[in-house]
Amino acid sequence: MSILVDQDTRLIVQGITGRDGSFHARQMLNYGTKVVGGVTPGKGGQTFEGLPVFETVREAVKETSANATVIYVPAKFAAAAAMEAIEEGLPLVVCITEGIPVLDMVEVYHAAKRKGCVLIGPNCPGVISPGKSKVGIMPGPIHKPGRAGVISRSGTLTYEIVNALTVRGVGQSTCIGVGGDPIVGAGFLDLLPMFEQDDETDAVVLVGEIGGDEEERAAVLIKERISKPVFAYIVGQTAPEGKRMGHAGAIVSGGAGTAESKIKAFTEAGVPVAKTIDDLADTVAKR
């Protein structure tokens, strides 16, 4: 099965004619993702790699029966693009764009909740179910079909970890980068139960970082409701207080959101926390 995306995912690309959108649309097509069209206001009627480009999400969904969208629209317009897709009733919206004003995301988040839409991102690498569908910007070849689920707040760190798993023969059911912003759509709390339900996932790798308390809440959820083994890795132990570490959401403030607090929460919930990336991959491989 895998979660969120698979061979039945019919994807549209918002911002398909832009620099990032066009590059990654080609990459996704090459991977085998069923990209069925794109949306760029002002360029409706054009084609991209033989695919139709539409003015609006509404037209695109009507003409292509798309059931998911991925957004590569610049930060100033990305929240509106996400809102358009959510209002149109698409069940999965993946927003790659970095730098969206956080208060705009508060509105988008609650709109998605109201509509029952799964929002992934923003500021994320996307979602991949290896061998089935890739929706995002992650390098395809490092992934390998298998039975480990991966949820991460990071981009390149996720690639590094997935690669470490793959070279040890551990394939993945679905890998999700949830995004590095303070307000993102689906998080650990939403995705862990999905992996728990998925009969093609045997174990979950959870990659957290400083800032917020999502990891602490996830630890409680795991203890109470997740029966599959979970392996955690937390970055940012060396980060100074009050400094934003690249990701807008990666900041320790007022003593809250520290790596220590997250590691402690997982340890108390019986979730092993790896010291290094190799340590993490070795532990999962030996399972």
């Binding site: 509105e107 760190l157 590094e160 303070p182 970055v235 570490m245 010291k275």
Partner: protein
């Protein structure tokens, strides 16, 4: 982005939140003049972004212009947590304070909304109050752009435990909420919010942080930025599209991606070394960005070795290699460099660098251990 207390209070006034009269001063003369103008008791307060001003002696309440001048002489130029005080404000302080409360509005990641934090315990560190007496913290959340009128009304009278203050507190809550939304804040805090013997409710101190992502649509806020308060290297990095934070170790780091950069720092520490910085060169890194990154790393006199860790995805390792070669041409480098390239075009990148006398490593763990050895002056 952070601003000073005096700037926060000017924004408060714009949004109908009363604050006592204040004057900015950069010399003891100006402090004295302002104190003469207000007469009577004034407070002289250091304007720096770091907390703990009171404990450091950066806030003094004085009763005459001569004392104010003396306070100005002492505070201007003092160091608070490594920042030199260049500005103070002189605040008219005639009214007697009866009660001090706390009122803050934050971007609430857990609730995915805008939360009000209120407490009848003001003038102290709110995190300490939350730790010591959590029942003294009241919280309510707005999850839309509407001011949560009913919830605010229910809490307004509780701040000073006095119904007479409910209306003015409600007005202040409304102002603070609109300020937060319209100016794209991530934190807007009044601490303390005071009730004085004239029956007024006022903001005696204020702190506002802004969402960096939204500064493109807040030019008037961007204009409040104080370059004296920011690390010049961090500003330069930001202008070049890099994310950089100075640390106090001796291993310079250049990594693509924030999460991987943090992981690299942590692994350095795990093996007993100390990172000199956080540096994310970002995705699709152009050679120019790499050159700028080298400039930043080599400017730090503490750096004894450099570790480059790239996992190519969108970032192509050959672009990084080009940047390294260009940097070698432009910058005189005698610091040993350990490089680990993986992912997109890694082989091509390594081939390009084979004559550049770099130390290569296959894995991150190997690269980290080599960089640590070199920083200690040992062979890799």
């Amino acid at each position: 982005m952070k601003i000073h207390e005096y700037q926060a209070k000017e924004l408060f006034r714009e949004y109908g939140i009363p604050a006592p009269p204040q004057a900015l001063a950069i010399t003891p003369d100006e402090v004295q003049t302002a104190a003469e103008r207000y007469g009577g008791t004034v407070a002289v307060k250091a304007q720096v972004h770091v907390g703990g001003r009171g404990k450091a002696g950066g806030i003094q309440v004085v009763k005459s212009p001569a004392e104010a001048r003396a306070a100005g002489e002492k505070i201007l130029g003092m160091e608070i947590k490594g920042i030199t005080v260049k500005k103070v404000i002189v605040v008219e302080s005639h009214a007697e304070i009866l009660k001090e409360a706390y009122l803050g509005v934050i971007l609430d990641r857990g609730e995915k909304g805008i939360s009000f934090i209120c407490s009848p315990e003001g003038g102290v560190d709110i995190e300490e109050v939350a730790e010591r007496t959590p029942d003294k913290i009241l919280k309510f959340t707005a999850t839309s752009s509407e001011f949560p009128e009913e919830k605010a009304r229910a809490h307004a009278g509780r701040l000073f435990d006095d119904e007479a203050t409910a209306e003015p507190v409600l007005e202040i809550m409304r102002g603070l909420f609109h300020l937060f939304r319209e100016k794209d804040c991530s934190l807007a805090e009044i601490n303390p919010l005071v009730q004085n013997d004239r029956g007024e409710v006022m903001a005696l101190d204020g702190k506002i942080n802004f969402d960096d992502n939204a500064l493109f649509r807040q030019p008037d806020i961007e204009a409040l930025r104080d370059p004296d308060e920011e690390d010049p290297d961090e500003i330069e990095a930001k202008e070049a599209g890099l994310s950089f934070v100075s640390l106090d170790g001796d291993i310079g780091c250049m990594v693509n991606g924030a999460g991987l950069a943090m992981a690299t720092m942590d692994i350095i520490q795990h093996y007993g070394g100390r990172p000199a910085n956080f540096l994310d060169v970002g995705g699709s890194s152009s050679p120019e960005k790499v050159v700028k990154a080298f400039e930043l790393l080599t400017r730090n006199p503490n750096v004894r070795s450099i570790l480059i860790n790239i996992f190519g995805g969108i970032t192509r390792c050959d672009d990084i290699a080009n940047g390294i070669l260009e940097s070698r041409r432009r910058i005189d480098l005698d610091i040993p460099i350990v490089i680990r390239l993986s992912g997109t075009n890694a082989d091509k990148g390594l081939e390009m660098l084979k004559d550049a006398s770099l130390i290569t490593a296959e894995t991150l763990a190997e690269a980290v251990q080599k960089a640590i050895a070199l920083a200690k002056g040992e062979d890799a």
